[in-house]
Amino acid sequence: MSEVWTEARSDARSRASRRVRFRGGPALGIVLPGLPQLLAGRLAAGGYVTALWVGLVTLLMYRWERVWAAPTGALDEQIAFATLALGIAGALAWSIRDLRKGRDPLPMSRSQWGLASRAFRKNRVAVLAVGMVAFFYLVALLTPFIAPFDPTFQGDLLADRLSGPSATHLLGTDHFARDIFSRLLYGARISLSIGFVAVSISITIGTLLGAVSGYLGGAVDSVIMRGVDMVISFPRLVLLITIIALFEPSITLIVVILGLTQWPQVTRIVRGEVLSLREREFVQAGAALGFSRVRIVLRHVIPNILAPVIVAASLGIGDTIVLEAGLSFLGLGVQPPTPSWGTMVADGRNNLLGAWWISTFPGLAIVFVVLSFNLAGDGLRDALDPRLRS
């Protein structure tokens, strides 16, 4: 019964897609990218593109003068400008290409990645989570256009201090009469980029060390793995606090330290993968063809272990953001007046009952971002691990 229904529905969907394609679909696609796909029943792809396009164009109209001045402005404004332009152009290009290609030719890629992406797209929660992650990064990049105030701008300390959410201050103000919404946006840039850069560092180190350790084995393996054991045996938070206490806290220091203390987990995962990969015959075949060990590790081993590394990275970013927030909350992370979610939560600590909005919104932001990363990571793991594919 339900099977028949599903079949009928998917049949209707593909008919719809064909109809849209033949009756002025492209024209509609230019006016509102994603709309033809939405009408064809592809809610996820169409919805994302439509939302992206509408959001960016709205932003362009409301903040016209800022966008106009951006190309000659500061670096972050230039980046925001490029993001906006690329986003608008990309949405248009995707929509048109997708329509021209149609969705009927479906000799789906049967490669490892093709199968994984199909499995991933079935997992709605994970698709949503990836959309959220993309949304957060987009907002972070576009912050100079979105934020109504400068994050360090103090309003009238008598009138605007600790005022609740209103039309001017969407999420209220803190005890220095600074706009929470703006600070939240600028804080997103800090938190997300710390997460991203720190995890990039740890993934790079971890993958290289793990691959070398697993592939070479023997003494090299022992040395590297004992190093891993040593770093892991320190309680991480205590180690971080100690190191930061020794130096002047700065964003660079935090990124580097977070990156340098997280690689052992990645190293372990990668080493395990490489150990099993080393016995695969294409690795031996490479050696039999006279490839150097460096070439075998970089070109033949590492690309085959990217799946678990990607999963570790997406879960790691969530962890790192929480850890950074924790450090900032303790006052060891990002230093005021630079906004960071952890510091903002700490700022609201003393007024939690009177001015709940100071701590609540950055706290919610942390929860949502980390949740998105973890759900996306879980989804990736399910999709990339053939054993978990149903």
Partner: protein, 348 residues
């Protein structure tokens, strides 16, 4: 002069249960353009022999024991620096593996992998590598080579992947090709095609081939000479015609008797009793003694050397005391001695 000269090759592995003497003193020579088959049961040291020649024995736990010698074109490979050895691999000697399903890297296209070898060893640029690569694919009998060049390994069947592996091995015109059970994982019709392909490629290039297999039919089909290995040693050597016609070593005879259609009059196959001993504890004396129908006291007392059969000129040898005491060959159980020479046909 022989292209490949192996003398007293011993490759041992250090394991938890002692030293495994996987290859324990084997010697043979291979001339240009010749095909030598190495046959034996699983665990007799065939594959370790080929890996030792290529210098691919994992060290640790494995090592090639001092006093071993492997000479390619007169150059000693044992003890050669890793870099020099690497330059020889792919260029002068190449190897094909048993399992075509996993011998290609799943993340790259076929062309990318053939091209990598060509660019690395022959210094071709991308366009040239593509041209030569497509040509190689055509040579190994892949239809639509232009299109296959851009496909991933998982899009090819096992037989086609093995063809691709052969193309990669041939890409740099090696003088020596080692094929380690190249057809074991393939079905029978494909086996015959692959063997034919190997034979053609070999005669076209005047390449020497070392064919390692447990399939006597394959040896009979392709090889000029053969070695029979047992427990890390060569137990019998000779031309294919000689060995199949008149097996001298009881083990070789046992192998031939266990082939269907070979044991004259027997309705059931006659297996060799017992199993191969463990490489960490080869028996004293003759290593085949426990399974041998002829064994007597002498076999336990001293291990037989590889004894020349029918005079030096014949090139035959057998590691059995029966060569010195032929009167004992009267078998304790019926065996088809002196039956008409008959080469087992490969199923086609």
């Amino acid at each position: 002069m022989s292209l490949l000269q192996v003398d007293n090759l011993r490759t041992w592995f250090e394991t938890d249960s002692g030293t495994a003497r996987a290859v324990d003193g084997i010697s043979f020579a291979l001339r240009k353009g010749e095909t030598l088959g190495i046959v034996g049961e699983s665990g007799c040291g065939k594959t370790v022999t080929s890996l030792s020649i290529m210098g691919l024995v994992p060290d640790p736990p494995g090592r090639i024991v001092e006093g071993s010698s492997v000479r390619l074109n007169g150059r000693e490979l044992v003890g050669m620096s890793a870099g020099d050895l690497r330059r020889l691999r792919g260029n002068e000697m190449a190897m094909i593996f048993q399992e075509p399903m996993t011998s290609l890297n799943p993340v790259y296209t076929v062309g990318n992998q053939i091209g990598e070898a060509l660019r690395l060893h022959r210094g071709l640029d991308r366009a040239e590598a593509r041209r030569v690569g497509v040509e190689l694919l055509r040579e190994v009998g892949i239809s639509d080579p232009e299109q296959r060049f851009d496909e991933h390994p998982h899009q090819l069947s096992g037989g086609m992947r093995q063809r691709v592996m052969i193309a990669m091995a041939l890409s740099c015109e090696p003088e020596l090709l080692i094929a380690d059970e190249p057809t074991t994982a393939l079905d029978v019709t494909i086996q015959a095609q692959i063997l034919e392909l190997l034979a053609d490629a070999q005669s076209a290039r005047g390449m020497a081939m070392l064919l390692i297999t447990h399939d006597l039919g394959v040896v009979a089909e392709v090889c000029d000479r053969m070695l029979v290995m047992y427990a890390g040693q060569v137990v019998e050597a000779g031309t294919v015609r000689q060995v199949f016609g008149e097996p001298r070593h009881p083990y070789t005879r046992g192998l031939l008797d266990s082939l269907p259609g070979r044991a004259a009059g027997a309705r059931r196959l006659r297996p060799i009793e017992g199993t191969v001993p463990s490489a960490t504890e080869w028996p004293e004396g003759c290593r085949f003694r426990d399974r041998c129908p002829h064994a007597w006291e002498r076999c336990a007392e001293s291990p037989p050397p590889l004894l020349v059969v029918d005079g030096e000129a014949s090139g035959r040898s057998s590691r059995c005391w029966l060569e010195e005491e032929p009167e004992r060959r009267v078998a304790p159980r019926p065996s088809p001695t002196g039956s008409a020479p008959q080469r087992p046909g490969r199923p086609r």
